[in-house]
């Protein structure tokens, strides 16, 4: 009895689930992509948490490198670059709000503890400061690599966000 009840419930839920999935994908499809020919990446800020300078610099450098690799923009400008004056310039602000420094030794010895994670709020704005896109991204290193590898993981994820949302 129980089995048949379960199967009936599942069968009745199936069309609803299919409908929801379909509408979600349609929403994704209809969401317009942001158009910009240039991006300026500002230096990573960490007002809420204490972040060692090597992590801050590694986050910034990896961001520049990974966004250049995505090839969505004609120009990728660094913070302070006076050439960043394109009319459709997008500015990326990154603010670290969570940081847990793990231990490479612990990771390699135990495989379950010692993970490093960095939580960053990424905000894409236009030149006037109007928000275009905001997303929280987490960089992690769980097993292989040093602690700074979390910054590479973060940059790769931001590059994916750029790939998905920019034309």
């Amino acid at each position: 009895m129980n089995r048949s009840a379960c199967s009936i419930a599942l069968l009745s839920l199936a069309p609803i689930l299919l409908f929801l999935r379909g509408s979600a994908s349609a929403e994704e499809k209809t969401q317009p992509k942001i158009q910009a020919s240039a991006i300026q990446i500002l230096m990573v800020q960490s007002e809420e948490v204490e972040l060692p300078i090597e992590f801050r610099l590694a986050l910034y450098e990896n961001l520049v490198e990974q966004i250049q690799k995505v090839n969505k923009f004609q120009h990728v400008y660094r913070d302070g670059d006076p050439a960043a004056a394109d009319s459709d310039l997008v500015i990326l602000h990154s603010n670290v709000y969570g940081f847990k420094k793990g231990s490479e030794e612990k990771r390699q010895v135990t495989t379950v503890s010692g993970a490093t994670s960095i939580n960053v709020h990424c905000l894409f704005t236009d030149k006037a400061g109007k928000s275009e896109l905001a997303q929280d991204v987490t960089g992690k290193v769980r097993f292989m690599g040093g602690n700074l590898r979390a910054t590479y993981d973060f940059a790769k994820k931001v590059a994916q966000v750029v790939e998905k949302n920019f034309q």
Binding site: M43, P52, I53, E54, R56, L57, A58, Y60, E61, N62, Y77, R78, D79, G80, D81, P82, A83, E104, E105, Q108, V109, M144, G146, N147, L148
Partner: protein, 183 residues
């Protein structure tokens, strides 16, 4: 009568032997003198990231000369003028004694041998710099150096015109405190 004749001969052989031994070891001695003559040179350093034209985690020699930070790997040289450096900070870290590809391969060794080898670690210093390129754009670079070298490198950079928000004395004091705590 034969004894005095033999003595100089033995001496001659001894002298020749000492000259031969001396000649056999000239290069390390010279190399030691070379590094001692340039105290601003830090061999066995690693550029973790940030320098243009160099791959991540490149091993080489970091030196401070002619008002610049120079990182040399073979024929490749990356130069950052000290006057363009807006921040220099040091730190401490450790790395696997057996690193690189061999180190990675040992992780797959049977009976947890790789994990055991991970316990053998070498203490290293880190040196992070933030600098501006000629256009005024911000760059960052991170290096690792042998233990005890980072503060010397920072002092040398500050002497050549680099800027910092944390003086060397403060960092040295903090490092000494940390060492004291661990002991």
């Amino acid at each position: 009568m034969e004894i005095p004749a033999k003595m100089p001969r033995a001496l001659l052989i001894l002298c020749a032997a000492s000259i031969w031994i001396g000649a056999g070891l000239p290069s390390p001695c010279l190399a030691q003198h070379a590094s001692a003559s340039n105290p601003m040179s830090f061999p066995e350093s690693k550029q973790v990231l940030g320098l243009k034209g160099l791959k991540h985690n490149t091993s080489g020699t970091l030196s401070v000369e002619n008002g610049s930070l120079v990182f040399t790997k073979g024929k490749t040289k990356a130069v950052v003028p000290a006057s363009s450096i807006t921040e220099v900070l040091t730190g401490k870290d450790t790395e696997r004694t057996i690193g690189g590809t061999v180190g990675t391969l040992t992780l797959f060794a049977p009976y947890g041998a790789g994990r055991f080898l991970s316990l053998f670690r070498t203490k290293i210093d880190t040196l992070a710099i933030e600098y501006l390129d000629p256009a005024g754009a911000v760059h960052g670079a991170v290096f690792t150096l042998r233990e005890g070298n980072a503060l010397g490198a920072k002092e040398a950079l500050l002497g050549q015109g680099a800027k910092t928000s944390v003086p060397v004395e403060v960092e040295a004091e903090a490092a000494a405190k940390q060492k004291g705590k661990k002991q």
